[in-house]
C-alpha cells in the first residue's frame, strides 16, 4: 500500500504525471506475458533527477517499483506482481547525441529501437540488435532484457553494444557504469551486470551504445523443407561450412500458416522454412549464395527463393518479425497464443534435436498446439503455445509441457532464455538450470537493493510456479486465475 503522504510528495513534483486512476493502474498491470497484477500508481518521469526522487521515496517507504518501456515483455518482467509503482519511460525518449566518430550514440531509455535506427541510418550507421518487436521495443527494455533478435549470429546481443549506463540505484544514488571508450578494463564491468537484470538492480536512465556502419548490401534466401529436422541440419551445415550470415531464421508449419493468415506474404506453408540474410559486397553475396543453395539442396530443400529487392526483403523480414503476434490467427476464435516457454537457447548443433524433441513432447499434450520459430542460426529458438485459455485442462497440459521442454533444453546443454529473459514465467526453470549460482545472484540483489524495492519477486527472487496471477478468465482452483 502506498502511503498517502508519499503520493502527495510524488504529486508535488510530478503533477499530473502520477496516476492512481483505476483504469490506468489496471492497464499498467499487463505486459505481453500470461500474468496480470494491478499497479497502485503509475508515474511518468521526464528526467534522471525525477527518477532519483521517485526511487528515494520508494526506498524510504519500501514501495515496489516496476520499470516499464513499451510493456511488451513476454515473461512478466513489466507486471507489478507485488503492487507498488509502475514507472513508465514513455516520456524519456530522446536521442541525446549521435557521435559517429566515436562509434556511439547516447539515448534515454524510452527511445524505440526502430526509431533509433531510422536516425542512425542518416549517418550510415545502425544499432545491430534486431528484435522481432523492434517497432515497439525501447532501448531501456532491450538493455534490461539483453534483447538481441535476428542478427545476433553475426553481431551479438545488446550486451555487446552497451558501453556506458547511467543508473539510479535502488537506494537512490546516481551511478555511471562503463565508459565512453571502445576499450574498458577499469574494474568490475558493472554496466554488463545491469544488462539483463530486468529492472531488479536499478533503473537505467541513460544508455551509451556502440554503433556499426550499415552493411553495403544484403540478400535474403528462403529455403523450404518438408522435414523440419533437415531445415535444422541446413543451419548447422551453413555455420560449419564455415559461413556466418547476418541472420538465420527458422519457422515451422504452424508459424508459417499463422503469418500467411495474418498478412499478404508469399511464404510457402511447408514443414519448415529457413530464412538466411547475407551481407557484404555484391561479389561476396554472390559467392555465399552459391554455398547456401548448395547446402540447402543437399538437405532436400523443396523450394529456394532469393531476393535482393528492398521491398521484397522488407516484406519477408517484417513477416518474420510478425510471427509471434500473428500466432492467434492460426485457429482464430478457438485457440489463442499464450506466452509459455517462449524462449530458449541451445548449442547450434542441437537445434534439430530440440525441434524434433519439442514436437514429440507436443504429441503427448492434446490441449496444446505448438509453434516453433526463432533465430536458429545462433541457437535461439522460440516456441509459442496455442491453447484455449478458458480451459483449466489446457493450462494443466501446458504447464507439464513447459517443464518437459525445459528439461530437454537443459539436457541438450542449453539455457532457458536466449533473449526474452526470466521474469516470472521462466524463473522455476532458471533455478533448475543455475542451481549452483542462484544463491550468489540473490546475494548481489540483496547487496544492491537492501529494501527489495526494485521489481521485487522477479527473476532470481521468484520462488513460486508459473501459473500465477493469470490474466485469462479461467479458474484453476486455489487463488489463481482471473
Amino acid at each position: 500500500m502506498i502511503p498517502s503522504e508519499m503520493l502527495e510528495e510524488l504529486r508535488s513534483f510530478l503533477g499530473d504525471r502520477v496516476s492512481t486512476a483505476p483504469a490506468d493502474t489496471y492497464v499498467f498491470g499487463f505486459d505481453a506475458s500470461i500474468h496480470h497484477h494491478k499497479a497502485e500508481a503509475v508515474v511518468f518521469p521526464e528526467s534522471t533527477e525525477e527518477v532519483q526522487r521517485i526511487v528515494k521515496l520508494c526506498n524510504k517507504y519500501k514501495v515496489p517499483i516496476t520499470p516499464r518501456g513499451s510493456g511488451s515483455a513476454l515473461a512478466g518482467q513489466a507486471v507489478p506482481i507485488k503492487g507498488g509503482i509502475v514507472m513508465s519511460f514513455k516520456r524519456m525518449n530522446r536521442i541525446k547525441e549521435v557521435k559517429v566518430e566515436d562509434l556511439q550514440v547516447i539515448v534515454e531509455p524510452g527511445v524505440i529501437n526502430d526509431q533509433l535506427n531510422a536516425e542512425l541510418k542518416k549517418y550510415g550507421f545502425f544499432f545491430p540488435p534486431s528484435p522481432g518487436s523492434g517497432k515497439v521495443a525501447t532501448i531501456g527494455g532491450m538493455v534490461a532484457m539483453n534483447a538481441s533478435g535476428m542478427r545476433a549470429l553475426k553481431y551479438g546481443a545488446t550486451r555487446d553494444y552497451v558501453m556506458a549506463l547511467e543508473v539510479v540505484t535502488p537506494t537512490g544514488e546516481i551511478a555511471h557504469f562503463g565508459t565512453h571508450t571502445i576499450k574498458d578494463a577499469s574494474s568490475y564491468q558493472m554496466a554488463k551486470l545491469m544488462v539483463g537484470s530486468e529492472g531488479t538492480l536499478g533503473i537505467i536512465t541513460e544508455i551509451t551504445l556502440r554503433i556499426e556502419p550499415l552493411p553495403k548490401d544484403t540478400s535474403i534466401v528462403l529455403a523450404a523443407f518438408e522435414d523440419a529436422r533437415m531445415a535444422g541440419q541446413t543451419i548447422s551445415d551453413i555455420i560449419a561450412y564455415p559461413l556466418i550470415p547476418a541472420s538465420v531464421e527458422f519457422m515451422d508449419r504452424v508459424c508459417l500458416q499463422s503469418v500467411v493468415n495474418s498478412r499478404a506474404v508469399d511464404f510457402p506453408v511447408v514443414d519448415a522454412v529457413v530464412m538466411i540474410e547475407l551481407e557484404g559486397t555484391e561479389e561476396e553475396i554472390k559467392e555465399d549464395l552459391k554455398k547456401v543453395e548448395q547446402i540447402a539442396k543437399k538437405n532436400g530443400a523443396v523450394d529456394i527463393r532469393v531476393s535482393s529487392d528492398p521491398a521484397k526483403k522488407s516484406e519477408w523480414l517484417e513477416a518474420r518479425k510478425a510471427v509471434l503476434p500473428s500466432m492467434s490467427q492460426y485457429a482464430r476464435g478457438k485457440m489463442f497464443m499464450v506466452s509459455l516457454a517462449d524462449d530458449m537457447s541451445l548449442p547450434i548443433s542441437k537445434i534439430p534435436d530440440a525441434v524434433y524433441g519439442f514436437h514429440e513432447i507436443e504429441k503427448r499434450h492434446p490441449h496444446v498446439v505448438l509453434g516453433v520459430y526463432g533465430h536458429a542460426g545462433d541457437g535461439n529458438l522460440h516456441t509459442i503455445f496455442l491453447i484455449d485459455p478458458r480451459e483449466k485442462e489446457a493450462w494443466e497440459d501446458a504447464e507439464k509441457m513447459v517443464e518437459e521442454m525445459y528439461d530437454l533444453v537443459i539436457e541438450l546443454g542449453g539455457t532457458v532464455s536466449g533473449e526474452h529473459g526470466i521474469g516470472i514465467t521462466k524463473a522455476p526453470f532458471m533455478r533448475k538450470e543455475k542451481k549452483d549460482s542462484i544463491e550468489l545472484m540473490k546475494r548481489i540483489k540483496r547487496a544492491l537493493d537492501p529494501n527489495d524495492i526494485m521489481n521485487p519477486g522477479k527473476n532470481v527472487e521468484w520462488d513460486d510456479g508459473i501459473l500465477v496471477d493469470l490474466r485469462y478468465p479461467v479458474n484453476l482452483g486455489g487463488e489463481d486465475g482471473a
Binding site: 496516476s19 486512476a21 483505476p22 483504469a23 490506468d24 489496471y26 492497464v27 499498467f28 499487463f30 505486459d31 505481453a32 503509475v42 511518468f44 516499464r68 513499451s70 510493456g71 511488451s72 513508465s88 514513455k90 516520456r91 524505440i112 518487436s133 517497432k135 515497439v136 493468415n261 495474418s262 498478412r263 510478425a322 509471434l324 503476434p325 500473428s326 500466432m327 492467434s328 490467427q329 482464430r332 476464435g333 489463442f336 497464443m337 506466452s339 485459455p389 485469462y472 478468465p473 482471473a482
Partner: protein, 358 residues
C-alpha cells in the same frame, strides 16, 4: 454487450504494435490511452476485474476510432469494434453533457446540430425529386457548418456534369450515435428515416461527401435494414473517370491531400482523390509524410471533439505540422472543418469546382 467480443479481446497478444502507431497515444504518452489499453479496459469491464468509473470511460472515449490500430494489429483484432462495444457500456452513466445533447438533438430534431432552419438541400438550390439515377447525401457537418461550401461545390459539379441526381430530405446518418455508444434504437430510428427517404426517391445509388456517412450506409445499415439493392459510393469514387484535364484551368496554390480515416483505411480509397487533384494542370501538389494507409487522424473523429476538444486540437496541430504551410485538401467535412481552425483547408469538391472551366 461485451460478451460478443471476448474472442477479440483474447486474440490480443499485448504485443504493443498498435501503441506506436496510435495518434492519441503519441500525444498522451500513456499506455492507458493506447488501443491495447482500451482493449484491456474493455476486458476488465467484461471480467468484472475493473469497475466502470470515470477513469475507464475517459480512456475509452479518448479515441477517434481512426482505425490505425486495426491496420497495424498483426493479431487481427478488430480493436475499434471492441472500443465501440465498450462505449455502449459506458454511455448511460459516463457520457458527458455535450455528447448527450448531441444525441438528444439527433433524436428530437434529426440532426446533430439541432433543428435545421431550412430543408437541408435549400442552400444548394437543387430540390429533391423522384426517380433520379442517383442521390447525393449531404451529411450533418455540411448541412450545419462549413458555410455549406463543400455541399454546394459537390452539387455544382454534379450539375455541371449533367448527372441525373436528387438531393434528399435527409437526417443524421447515425454515425455520431454509434461512436458515442448511444442506445441502438436511436441509431435504428435514423436509419429508418433515411431509408424511407431514399426509397421514396427511387434511386439505386447514393453518393456521399462524408466518409462517416458512407461508412454507416455501407457497413452498418446492412446489419439492420435490407439495402442490398442500393449501391453506395464516396463522391471521389463517383467522379473518378468522369473528368479530364481539359475540364480544369491550370495551377493551384501549394496544396496537399489528407486521407480521411474511413475513406482510406476502411474503403481503401487512396488514389481516386489524388487522380482527381492531378487532373488540374500544374497543380502545386506534395504529399505529407504520413499518407494513404499511414495517414494520421485529424483528431475530430469518433466523437473525440465533443469529449476532449483539447486533445482534438493537439492531434490537428500535429497533422498540420506535416503540411509545411500548404493548403490541406481533404475528402471529409469533419477533417476540413477541424483543420480550418488551425490552417487553410478546403474540401476536394471546392478545389475541383473552383478550378473547373465554367
Amino acid at each position: 454487450m461485451l460478451e460478443e467480443y471476448v474472442d477479440q479481446m483474447m486474440q490480443c497478444t499485448s504485443c504493443s504494435f498498435c501503441t506506436v502507431t496510435c495518434p492519441v497515444m503519441n500525444v498522451l504518452l500513456t499506455d492507458a490511452s493506447s488501443p491495447r489499453g482500451r482493449v484491456q479496459i474493455a476486458y476488465g469491464l467484461y471480467t468484472g476485474e475493473l469497475e466502470l468509473d470515470e477513469s475507464a470511460s475517459k480512456r475509452l472515449y479518448e479515441c477517434t476510432t481512426c482505425g490505425m490500430c486495426d491496420h497495424s494489429c498483426p493479431s487481427g483484432v478488430h480493436i475499434v469494434d471492441v472500443i465501440k462495444a465498450a462505449r455502449k457500456v459506458v454511455y448511460p452513466e459516463f457520457s458527458v453533457e455535450k455528447q448527450r445533447s448531441f444525441v438528444n438533438n439527433i433524436g428530437e430534431k434529426g440532426h446533430t446540430y439541432g433543428e435545421a432552419k431550412e430543408p437541408v438541400w435549400a442552400f444548394t438550390g437543387h430540390e429533391p425529386k423522384e426517380n433520379a439515377e442517383i442521390a447525393y447525401f449531404m451529411g450533418c457537418k455540411i448541412t450545419a457548418e462549413s458555410g455549406h461550401a463543400q455541399g454546394i461545390a459537390a452539387v455544382r459539379i454534379l450539375e455541371h456534369l449533367n448527372e441525373d441526381f436528387t438531393t434528399l430530405n435527409e437526417v443524421c446518418c447515425g454515425a455520431p450515435l454509434m461512436y458515442m455508444g448511444a442506445p441502438e434504437e436511436k441509431i435504428r430510428a435514423q436509419m429508418e428515416k433515411n431509408m424511407a427517404e431514399i426509397r421514396k426517391r427511387g434511386v439505386k445509388k447514393v453518393i456521399f461527401s462524408c466518409p462517416s456517412c458512407y461508412y454507416m450506409f455501407s457497413k452498418v445499415y446492412p446489419k439492420y435494414v435490407d439495402i442490398s439493392d442500393i449501391e453506395f459510393q464516396h463522391i471521389v469514387e463517383y467522379l473518378d473517370g468522369k473528368l479530364d484535364m481539359d475540364d480544369f484551368d491550370s495551377g493551384t496554390e501549394p496544396i496537399t491531400y489528407h486521407d480521411p480515416c474511413h475513406l482510406g483505411r476502411t474503403f481503401g480509397v487512396y488514389e481516386e482523390p489524388r487522380k482527381l487533384i492531378k487532373l488540374i494542370p500544374d497543380a502545386d501538389y506534395m504529399e505529407m509524410e504520413h499518407n494513404r494507409e499511414n495517414s494520421l487522424c485529424c483528431g475530430a473523429g469518433g466523437s473525440l471533439a465533443l469529449y476532449e476538444p483539447s486533445l482534438t486540437k493537439k492531434m490537428a496541430e500535429r497533422r498540420v505540422s506535416e503540411s509545411d504551410g500548404r493548403i490541406i485538401v481533404s475528402a471529409c467535412p469533419n477533417c476540413v472543418g477541424n483543420f480550418s481552425k488551425h490552417t487553410k483547408a478546403m474540401s476536394i469538391e471546392e478545389l475541383l469546382w473552383n478550378k473547373m472551366k465554367k
